[in-house]
């Protein structure tokens, strides 16, 4: 049953990714990106990685895309990029991307199937409680470093805006 859901959400994720590329208005592209991310979260849930599914919805859809939407509301100018959506390289880029995607699909499909026993013996190591315990046992220092990185990101964004308003 989960195979059907995986196929369904995979198809939806690809469709919404294509919509992000093809939509003329940035806000519609952003909403397509939100739908794409929700589809990926559903895929993670189908795989049993509930922690990552929740991270995906909370951090990406909830935080990162809010940044994007605010920026679109601040900057949505109707300029040249609105009239001519694609660059001159569009046609050769589409051809090359199609070839690359086909090659990746074929090559990955030919990889040997490994570790089926481990995969089928999937336990509950990615549920919240077990993952949190393992994460804080092994990665508590990295977690603290991540908070420092977030703080540096805030300071850098603030400094960039201040420098831009001065200049």
């Amino acid at each position: 049953m989960s195979g059907i859901f995986i196929a369904f959400f995979s198809a939806l994720a690809v469709v919404f990714a294509i919509m992000v590329i093809t939509m003329r208005q940035p806000m519609r592209a952003a909403l397509s990106l939100v739908a794409h991310m929700v589809c990926l979260a559903a895929l993670y849930a189908c795989l049993g990685a509930h922690v990552v599914a929740v991270f995906q919805v909370l951090i990406y859809v909830g935080a990162v895309m809010v940044f994007m939407v605010y920026t679109i509301m601040l900057l949505d100018d109707r300029d040249m990029s609105y009239q001519w959506v694609f660059s001159r390289l569009a046609l050769p880029a589409v051809v090359v991307a199609g070839l690359v995607a086909a090659a990746l699909w074929v090559l990955i499909g030919r990889l040997p199937v490994t570790a089926p026993a481990i995969a089928t013996a999937a336990g509950d190591s990615f549920t919240f409680s077990s993952f949190s315990v393992a994460f804080m046992q092994h990665y508590w220092f990295h977690f603290e470093l991540a908070t420092v990185l977030l703080l540096i990101g805030i300071i850098a964004a603030w400094a960039a805006v201040k420098e831009g308003s001065n200049g």
Partner: protein
């Protein structure tokens, strides 16, 4: 092709779509969104491999990817707001004289 191979291949396909968007789109905001698509494809391959091998480090790495992505978007949006207010355009062609 089992489901893990399928998902890694799907990650490759989504990464290619994101890269295609970065190359062909002219709008700066949509280019950023396509970069996020590429990052999502990387996370998908990480999660698929982690679930396949039942390894905690793979999922832990996705958490740190999310942290890095949040910082990247915050800083990129700040820089983008400054640039667009100076040039009054979202067209990437207007930023060809940027150095570095």
């Amino acid at each position: 092709m089992d489901r893990y191979q399928f998902l890694v291949a799907l990650a490759g396909l989504i990464f290619t779509l994101g890269l295609l968007g970065v190359v062909i789109r002219r709008n700066l905001l949509v280019v950023m969104m396509c970069l996020e698509i590429m990052l999502n494809a990387v996370v998908l391959s990480f999660v698929t491999t982690a679930v396949r091998t039942q390894s905690i480090p793979g999922v832990a790495m996705t958490f740190f990817i999310y942290v890095a992505a949040s910082c990247e978007v915050a800083l990129a949006m700040a820089i983008m707001v400054i640039l667009v207010r100076r040039r009054h355009s979202l067209d990437v062609g207007t930023f060809q004289d940027l150095k570095g």
